[in-house]
């Protein structure tokens, strides 16, 4: 009898999870479907359950590919900014995290405590003086201004330190006996060993930069410099006259990320769970 009761529970629990998963995916699926609807219909009725399949078509995508050079400028900016962020933040953060883990040096612990401290200070509180600094140094409205606060990401430093702690220190000694310099040890021996952590942080930093909003909103001023989130947000007007670009553009913003996720799920998971802090 107990078995029968368990079977009912199993069915119920699995059914509940299937429903919850469907609810979680519903907004994305409905975005995808709505992107094939004429923007005028979308504006009139919103995202709706009654889909008139006769209306579905590729108009929004045709428009965005042929008429909207502005959207592609944003796309390019987002790509460039994310790429620079990933390269610089991986390079510098791994170096710092590695040093904190592998060397015993004066002040090493102080630096580590500072890393944790920065993790806890909300960026929003520093943003006005930083914004002023960008104006004073005339860096406003440049890629550099957007990237600067992300170059040495405390989350990444913390993650790399934890990861490096698990690396074999004997390798370093062996390499020293072979005459390798400390820099050679890092770049040629230890950094390759940190591969999985680099992948996880590349994804975390890339995603954070791709989706970043508040700071780029402050420092980017001209339409041709906007990133995707800023550009798309300008289309969110009460008049709804840009829904074609807005909705097809949103789909193309998240598709690359979802594809990456499908291929590199493992790295996403380890990257985002160490993050914890809002990206």
């Amino acid at each position: 009898m107990k078995n029968k009761k368990n079977k009912g529970l199993v069915w119920f629990a699995n059914g509940a999870f299937a429903l919850i998963s469907l609810i979680a995916l519903f907004p994305i699926i409905s975005l995808l479907i709505s992107s094939f609807m004429p923007s005028s219909v979308l504006m009139r009725s919103g995202i709706t359950f009654n889909i008139d399949t006769e209306l579905l078509g590729l108009d929004n995508y045709a428009y965005i590919f042929t008429q909207s050079s502005e959207y592609w400028a944003w796309y390019g900016n987002s790509m460039i900014i994310s790429a620079i962020t990933i390269i610089l933040s991986l390079f510098f953060s791994s170096m710092v995290g590695y040093a904190l883990a592998m060397y015993n040096f004066k002040g090493g612990n102080v630096f580590f405590v500072l890393v944790l401290f920065i993790l806890m200070v909300p960026f929003e509180i520093l943003m006005l003086p930083l914004y002023q600094l960008m104006i004073d140094t005339q860096l406003i409205n440049t890629y550099f201004a957007v990237v600067l606060p992300m170059i040495v990401a405390p989350v990444a430093v913390f993650f790399f330190r934890q990861y490096a702690l698990g690396l074999p220190k004997e390798l370093m000694d062996a390499a020293r006996i072979d005459g390798a310099t400390e820099y050679g040890i890092f770049f040629r021996i230890m950094l390759p060993l940190m591969g999985p952590s680099l992948a996880a942080m590349a994804i975390l930093q890339g995603l954070a930069s791709w989706n970043n909003f508040l700071w780029p909103l402050l420092v980017l001023r001209s339409n041709d410099m906007f990133t995707l989130p800023i550009g798309l947000a300008t289309l969110l007007t009460p008049y709804g006259n840009n829904y074609d670009v807005l909705i097809a553009g949103s789909v193309m913003t998240i598709i690359p990320i979802i594809l990456l996720f499908i291929f590199f799920q493992r790295y996403f998971v380890s990257g985002l769970t160490v993050g914890g802090v809002k990206g």
């Binding site: 999870f17 710092v96 929003e124 509180i125 003086p129 072979d178 947000a233």
Partner: protein, 315 residues
Amino acid sequence: MNTMSNSGARVRPKTKRESSKVMKFLNSKKVVPYIFVTPFILSFLVLTLYPAIQGIIMSFQSVLPGQVEFIGMQNYTRVPNGTFYKALTNTTVYVILTVIILTFIPMLLAVFLNSKVIKLKTLFRASLFVPALTSTIVGGMIFRLMFGEQETAAANQFISFLGFDPVNWRFTAWSGMLLMVLLASWRWIGVNLLYFLAALQNVPEELYEAADIDGASRFQKLWYITLPQLKPIIIFVSTITIINGFRMFEESFVFWEAGSPGNIGLTVVGYIYQQGIQQNDMGFGAAVGVVLMLIIFVVSFIYLIMTGTFKKEGA
């Protein structure tokens, strides 16, 4: 590795000694870590320490282009006003709701996902995680279209199916808050779920075996073993949710851009943005920022004391 040791050997003989001295200095184990850490030191000084100090100084100033003067406490005496209280109330309500939702729901889901009851674990976990990949802007745009004021929009269709009247979602106080909380929950449940799943995997199996021998029920095991074992991760997740909640801005911006009707969606960071950037009153914005920082520190500190994080139990 041999190639590296040769790197200094090609230098002309005369300078060889000097350069090798410099090399030796740069390569000594006492110097190397500081060189590695230099980017962090620079970034800390320029991007954290400087703006932190500058922010405090600015909060005592009236900052106009080319005309900065100290005005004492005047910015701070202006902070307690109706709009600020409205923003603080909204933020606080949002923090309380998100902490409850984003701690309990992921924990519950994780307990089920971790049990043998659920099949297709990876699929469920992945589907719940996918919303975290969208930006708040894209997510918010979808929510705006789903929760449109039209009767045909998905949310209104759904509630009229249940027998309720259509709601003007973005223009009513309670539903405005609901939209922000829903959007955040949708995007974060999957991430927090992963934290709890990771923690559950670390609960020693022997504890459950011992409980089985003692004849403990499913619920007793959950209450007396799983929950106490999860305590550190519960505190972690709820603390970052509190901090992220006080920092909230985008979830409000995406629904109402610059301003919401009757400020139903105004948050403290939104108020800083409005005053500091849009009204160009940076001194006042900085003062609100300092107040917000104090609030965050005090609230998280009280929370961590209440949950016993500072006690040395070794738990």
